[in-house]
């Protein structure tokens, strides 16, 4: 996650106190607030068109300007928060759960199963991330649910590797033996005793993975394979505005800035959490 690390490095320089966790939480909380309140705080309907107000530059009535259909960019950015936060959450949750279970079982059981699963991971990793994802979406057909499925099928490998390495180092620890000596089953020991100790670094990784998922979601939508117009989504908005970039810069710039701001929130959160939990992905 070079993007995350460089943002975090800038953050450390800007914030000498190193209080990145608080900054990340504040940024994210602000976005969540926007997503929750957008029906009340957005000045216009995000999809209603106004033929009299097309391609207006930023002005008091439309602080972020309007697009070629006369839709208010500010309102569309606000409503887009709902979709993009959802993309981050679901796009991370599925790979996280799947990868954690596979990695934990693989590391704990070991032997032939472990070898098999690790080779499977090698195969997935052999493909470039975006290419494999686009191929899966192309097979499933465009749409946001295809994006989630593709994300889960491609993204789980990172979590599986991370959790497996943690489980490998934890499974010979003394407290696991102690749990065995109390007569607990392997499943209980793995999921209730071992996994809580192994999750810190993958939670930190999940936060920085949110950035990647957000960018992939926006990219996939930009390519017309994810969220479909006219729904307000930042990647779609960037795509729609690209024809006007020389004459109406505001159509692409503001959703682009929103992507950057949300990604920074996650980056700061990941970095701060990493410091706090003593875990670095």
């Amino acid at each position: 996650m070079t993007a995350t690390q460089s943002v975090a490095a800038i953050g450390r320089r800007v914030l000498p106190g190193g209080n990145t966790l608080t900054v990340g939480i504040v940024i994210l909380a602000a976005w969540v607030l926007v997503a929750l309140l957008c029906p009340w705080i957005a000045p216009f309907d995000p999809i209603s068109q106004d033929a009299d107000a097309t391609l207006l530059p930023p002005n008091p009535a439309h602080p972020f300007g309007t697009d070629n259909f006369g839709r208010d960019i500010l309102s569309r950015v606000m409503w887009g928060t709902r979709i993009d936060l959802q993309i981050c959450f679901i796009g991370v949750a599925f790979p996280f759960v799947l990868g954690t279970i596979v990695g934990a079982v693989s590391g704990y059981v070991g032997g032939a199963l472990d070898t098999l699963l690790m080779r499977l991971i090698d195969i997935v990793l052999a493909f470039p991330f975006l290419v494999l994802m686009l191929a899966i979406i192309a097979i499933l057909g465009p749409g946001i649910s295809s994006f989630y499925i593709a994300m889960a099928m491609v993204g789980w490998v990172s979590y599986a590797r991370l959790v497996r390495s943690q489980v490998l180092s934890l499974k010979h620890r003394d407290f696991i033996l102690a749990a065995r000596s109390l007569g607990y089953s392997h499943g209980r020991i793995l999921f209730f005793h071992l996994l809580p100790n192994a999750l810190a670094s993958s939670i930190v990784f999940a936060m920085s993975d949110c950035v990647l998922v957000l960018l992939s979601g926006a990219s996939v939508s930009y390519l017309g394979l994810g969220v479909q117009p006219p729904v307000a989504e930042w990647g779609v908005m960037v795509a729609e505005g690209q024809g006007f970039i020389t004459t109406a810069w505001w159509i692409t710039t503001f959703p682009g800035l929103a992507i950057v701001a949300l990604a920074m929130g996650f980056s700061f959160l990941a970095d701060g959490l990493g410091d706090k939990l003593g875990a670095r992905p």
Binding site: D174, L177, S181, L182, G183, H193, N197
Partner: protein, 330 residues
């Protein structure tokens, strides 16, 4: 009444070396058995075999019986063993800091066994955990029950670990060097707690240790192991007062005395043998002062001392050792 009887237990590694060789032990209800020996003498391994939790791969139990209440646990399947572990035989360890789960509260770790083995409700198990913490001597248990292990001191962690084991109400507690990591005053408290539990609950305890001082204070009977074999068993008074085996004698002489002993500390010459190079015959003979040609070739059997009903030693010269000891005024 005999709770656990181990007979002729043999544990081999991948190469076929017997790391534990023909060990026989028994523990009665309400009895504390001290299992004494140097590091690597197989005492921990023998006890792990009783739980069927041998460390590492390639170690197998070859022969022997481990009878718990008359039933041989070596014939049990994994499901049956899960009911034995914790519920019948509990285990506490040398280093409580690493044997407690760092991300679970003490209370939950104590309550979990209760919930698994007795089907107790969350509330009942928590009340029971508080009661157990009180019993093992944790002050203010109602507020301490929600602490994490790192919030406890070393001695309190050892008490907490004992409480975790006691939650399942085992009949036998295997205590693997429970006081080694503690300072002397806390050691005393923990040993006192073990004796107290024995008296109140009729708990049988196998206390693994290399510290004869601990044995002398705590145990009823002693079994001494050397290089995977049993050297000597018997009541505490007989074994410590009139040791039959030269190794036991050596161990006792190695104890620093408190009444102003003069000169160098006495030690046993040489090192215990590595598992791959166990000598033929008596495994102690290369380090033994009274070894003869017989000792180097014939493995001595455990022989009960004439006149003593349970004091036995595996030495060809058991009787002469006693005589020699008397001549030298020990």
């Amino acid at each position: 009444m005999t709770l656990l009887r181990v007979s002729d237990l043999t544990i081999q590694d991948r190469l076929g070396t017997a790391l534990v060789d023909g060990v026989s032990l028994s523990v009665d209800r309400g009895e504390i058995l001290g299992l004494v020996g140097e590091s690597g003498s197989g005492k921990t391994l023998a006890c792990r075999a009783m739980m069927r939790l041998l460390p590492g791969e390639g170690l197998t139990i070859r022969g022997g019986e481990i009878r718990l209440n008359g039933a041989d646990v070596l014939t049990y399947g994994e499901k049956q063993m899960m009911a034995v572990r914790g519920r019948e035989i509990g285990m506490i360890f040398q280093n409580p800091a690493s044997h407690l789960n760092p991300v679970m509260t003490i209370g939950r770790q104590i309550a979990e066994g209760r919930r698994r083995h007795f089907g107790a409700s969350r509330r009942e198990a928590r009340q029971h955990a508080i009661e157990l913490l009180r019993q093992v001597g944790i002050p203010d248990p109602a507020s301490r029950v929600d602490n994490y292990p790192h919030e406890f001191s070393g001695g309190m962690r050892q008490r907490a670990m004992i409480a975790v084991a006691l939650a399942c109400e085992p009949k036998l507690l295997i205590a693997d060097e429970p006081t080694t990591a503690l300072d002397v005053t806390v050691q005393m408290q923990v040993l006192h707690l073990l004796r107290d539990l024995r008296d109140r609950l009729g708990l049988a305890v196998i206390l693994i240790t290399h510290d004869l001082g601990v044995v002398a204070q705590t145990c009823d009977r002693i079994a001494v192991m050397y290089a995977g074999r049993l050297c000597e068993t018997g009541g505490k008074r007989e074994v410590l007062g009139a040791p039959l085996h030269p190794y036991t004698r050596g161990l006792i002489e190695c104890q620093p005395s408190s009444d102003g002993g003069a000169g160098r500390m006495i030690t046993i010459q040489g090192q215990p043998p590595l598992a791959q190079r166990f000598p033929a015959g008596c495994r102690f003979h290369p380090r033994c002062g009274s070894a003869t040609a017989e000792c180097a070739s014939v493995q001595p059997e455990m022989r009960v001392e004439p006149g003593a009903d349970s004091h036995a030693a595996a030495c060809h010269h058991a009787a002469s050792v006693v005589n020699r000891g008397m001549v030298h005024g020990h």
